[in-house]
Homo-oligomer: 210 residues x 2
DNA sequence: CGCGTACTTGATCATACTCAATGCACGTGG
DNA sequence: CCACGTGCATTGAGTATGATCAAGTACGCG
């Protein structure tokens, strides 16, 4: 059904921008392989990473309202995406009410996600943030049928820090601490989760057993 | 047009809940007067304020996807709201495509807002957060035709702190510091902004003139 | 007017930031 | 093949910012 409106596939090299903040909103993207980060430049010198996006996820739906992309998107590694011209989607939507509904549902989900990020940043200390980040990543990968226990951190420590509102050194130290406590193993970009439950506890998802 | 589906008006006392997290999603609300806070209880003991909502704004649209309210909403003062039964809205939407479009636009706007909150929490220190909070509040009031320079902080210092991820003492001290620097005047719940521009600078909205 | 809730203020302490130096891996060119 | 450069990761030391704890005060409301 949605396949009807696919315009074409696009390939990205590591470091290449899929779209840039402020450009006219034309396409919604579905990520086929690889991963991307989204980021904005609020003031000249500061860059803020707003999210990481994995295969199977949709990108840029939230530009609907604004008519322009709200942030830039850059490939963290070689990636392939599908472009959906949004005006076509809308035409289709006029016919198929089910799709409109689904759009609303997806957008609701995005808001929910942003809300959970908000909660993440408010209450918690560095270990809780990193733990939440890892658990979240693990869950999203599992949703796509990939391993929830072992995966690659395709983004740099600096990006993680920027995303979580922590210095990169803090990210490193927290990861080291987690490894020392045998919650995870890290080696460069590859990561293995040994104890999801305690990680979730640290993230503040359970009652509070430190 | 939307007026057609208004079911009825509802009045709330200070401290009364409009709806609770987890309840089945039935109504979208438009705030007529007063103000509300939204909050969740992630784990048993911790409450997290997720937002403040002013007259003229819509509430609970993001529950569309989930089918249940994602958070609770409580009146900060005597308030009146209008209930819109959402299933009716959807019927209407099937007929009037313009409304669907508008829904999407509004939801896009919400995502944008959440995104800006994300940015707020990541980079910045306590003064920047409080400054952003004040500027944001001021703008939202101005959008509704109210004074952007002088207004009431209908929420407690503790709520502000919880929302911004700061201790209430820090909120108080930062406000005092701002007053000392003649950026604002505070007295209890009433607040006056003297120098929006410098406040915005602190918020990191300009290049960076401290 | 009295009670309670919210607000304010001060002192101490911990966490995470900053700065600086070093290590490590990759790719490039001699 | 090895020397070198670049970028990212790591580690350490010192510091500052904001949290916590503990009083004390003002304000709103019955």
């Amino acid at each position: 059904m949605l396949e009807r409106v696919i315009k074409h596939r696009r390939l990205l090299e590591r470091g290449e921008d899929l779209f840039r903040q402020g450009e006219r909103f034309r396409y919604v993207y579905a990520i086929k392989s690889g991963s991307l980060k989204t980021y904005t430049a609020a003031n000249q010198k500061t860059v803020q990473v707003t999210g990481f996006h994995l295969p199977g996820e949709l990108l840029a739906l939230d530009a609907v309202g604004a008519g322009a992309y709200l942030y830039s998107a850059r490939a963290l590694q070689t990636a392939s995406v599908c472009e959906f011209p949004f005006d076509r989607l809308e035409e289709l939507g006029a016919l198929a009410r089910g799709i409109q509904r689904q759009l609303l549902r997806i957008m609701g989900g995005q808001i929910q996600h942003e809300l959970s990020m908000h909660m993440l940043h408010c209450k918690t200390d560095a270990p809780a943030r990193v733990a939440t980040f890892l658990v979240n990543l693990s869950m999203r990968l599992a949703e796509r049928g990939l391993s929830r226990a072992q995966f690659r951190l395709s983004m740099s420590r600096e990006d993680i820090g920027n995303y979580l509102g922590l210095a990169k050194e803090t990210v490193i130290r927290v990861l080291a601490e987690f490894e020392h406590r045998r919650l995870i193993s890290v080696s460069g970009k590859s990561l293995r989760i040994h104890d999801v439950y305690r990680l979730e506890s640290l993230a503040g998802l359970h009652a509070a057993i430190t």
